[in-house]
Amino acid sequence: MSIYIPQDTTALALGAEAVARVLQAAGVEPVRNGSRGLFWLEPLLEVDTEDGRIGFGPVTNKDIPGILDALETDASSHHLYLGQVEKIEYLASQQRLTYARAGLGDPVCLDNYQALNGFVGLSNALQMDGQQIVDQVKDSGLRGRGGAAFPAGIKWQTVLDCDSEQKYIVCNADEGDSGTFADRLVMEADPYQLIEGMTVAGLAVGANQGYIYLRSEYPVAHKLLNIAIERAVEANFLGDNIQGSGKTFHLEVRLGAGAYICGEETSLLDSLEGKRGMVRAKPPLPAIEGLFGKPTVVNNVLTLAAISTILEQGAEAYQNFGMGRSRGTLAIQLAGNIKRGGLIELAFGVTLREVVEDYGQGTHSGRPIRAIQVGGPLGAFLPESQWDTPMDYEAFAAIKAMIGHGGIVVFDDSADMAAQARFAMEFCVVESCGKCTPCRIGSVRGVEVIDRIVANENRDDNLILLHELCDTMELGSLCAMGGMTPFPVRSALTHFQEDFFVQDAAGPLLEEATGVSPGGK
């Protein structure tokens, strides 16, 4: 009888380690699996039984003696009993490709990965030439999952077509958007899938060196990736003469140092080169002059992970998921003030309302939902009138919003949207790389102007000024940091204008006086 308790960040943050220690003290050595991404049930304890793999959750160390007793008699009698984990509606209704293996076993166990179709995609790729692999990626319709949604196959073709002795594969694992954890879940629950995808990318474009640029805020992923890479090298899935093919691919994890902007690909490349993470002007495209000036594929974790699926199951199988020009599956991350937060992998096209109401079951606080921010700190705040928009790149672009990396942050009716708009500017002040003026200075002025609007100082004039400032940032910034910070600001102003007008003109800003947001919770 195997018992599983995850070693994932969220499970650990909710006490999984203490649970594991109690199990060990009771003579049970648990398998430390990854999470299935059902974070509202973490720590989720699973047990292999005659009735399949059953779950209990969320558990604490104090529940363990009772669960062990119940397993001896009648497991279903325990109040945390969930039945078969794979029949939990939240999970059963998903279309899991990238996360098919997540949570099933020890994430760094190579045998486990191979038993679950791991490295099938790589062995298929080893039978193809570079162009054939790139064609598979093109045919799959895969678009970059980091946020920009650029067709992956076209980027790869550009790098393949460059005549250069040295090329690089860079994985953008600087998942800085609030409300996102999809990359982290891949790296912590199924790291070999990323390693496999990057190796295939190397074979496709003729690159022999890869880097995973990982944010320093992910210590668990850092540890697991390093173990996985070491074991993959030992088993010759990485390194020289991979599986006797004569092909070479080396992979290394590089740690960021706490800079949101390094999630922008050119800033990331500068950081990898050991410099300040300053955004580069494009052209030249990184595909032509990227890392150390060489042709470079820069893809997000999810994009590279999807490569394993595409090479394993074929381009057509992947292409059959989705709608319009958004093919495959989307990793939706449901977060913030939500009752049942977690990772939801579905084909493109599900509506926002279905996600937050059916999967999420409303807010954690039990109060009505007021606003939903999709796509991280640069994404718009959506009012209820927009929640029926299908999750598809084009449909979201049509309402001046973006899917981005797929993060959804829910706010209840106690949220102060003027404070959130101010925060969007404040975040840009802290995280701007400083290269271009609209972003560096505009964000500072943005905070000030919002404060004046809220304080009712020349409100009408300042509202005009804020819109003009947003125009300048949108049109004049070098990258999305300055260019999209106006999205949350403007959407808050458009849909939640009343929050900007609550402050009495004579009174000081509550936030300045106390550090507590006005409008309070």
Binding site: P219, L334, A335
Partner: protein, 162 residues
């Protein structure tokens, strides 16, 4: 905390280890900080010489990234997530509580040298907010009461279970 040993810290073994690594400055700075707790100004000339950079370039990199500290920090670094998901679950109240409890603002260290308080923008734990990181451990659903417990655990004598 600052000792003369750190003022004249010998980092030559680390410089040797990283000087031939492509883009080796960030890994080197991480290694120095892991060993000394921060990157003392006194180490900048040796880094610059070893990596064939100007001192200005090295300083520019150190000052760009939030992670690199140029002064000693507390024994424990406590980071409170300020991002939107955590705000939606009350992290603004949590940060106000933490500052009041510890008697310090962000980027400051308690008088006893035990705790440095820092903001952080997302720990990737957004389905179970608010999140706090203490050294390399992350904690979920941290309200004021749980924060008090975590701080009490930090101050517990060595050997006490956390």
């Amino acid at each position: 905390m600052e000792t003369s040993a750190q003022n004249t810290a010998d980092i030559s073994h680390l410089v040797t280890q990283y000087k031939a690594v492509p883009g080796g400055l960030l890994p080197l700075l991480h290694a120095i900080q892991a060993e000394l707790g921060y990157v003392p100004d006194t180490t900048v000339p040796a880094i610059a010489t070893g990596l064939n950079l100007s001192r200005a370039e090295v300083h520019g990199v150190i000052s760009f990234y939030h992670d690199f500290k140029t002064h000693p920090v507390g024994q424990h670094t406590v980071q409170i997530c300020r991002s939107e998901a955590c705000q939606s679950m009350g992290s603004r109240q949590l940060e106000a509580h933490a500052k009041a409890l510890l008697g310090i603002d962000y980027h400051e260290t308690t008088e006893d040298g035990a705790i440095t308080l820092e903001p952080v923008y997302c720990l990737g734990n957004c389905a179970c907010s608010p999140s706090v990181r203490i050294n390399n451990d992350i904690y979920a659903r941290v309200d004021a009461e749980r924060f008090d417990d975590l701080m009490a655990d930090i101050k517990a004598p060595v050997g006490e279970p956390k």
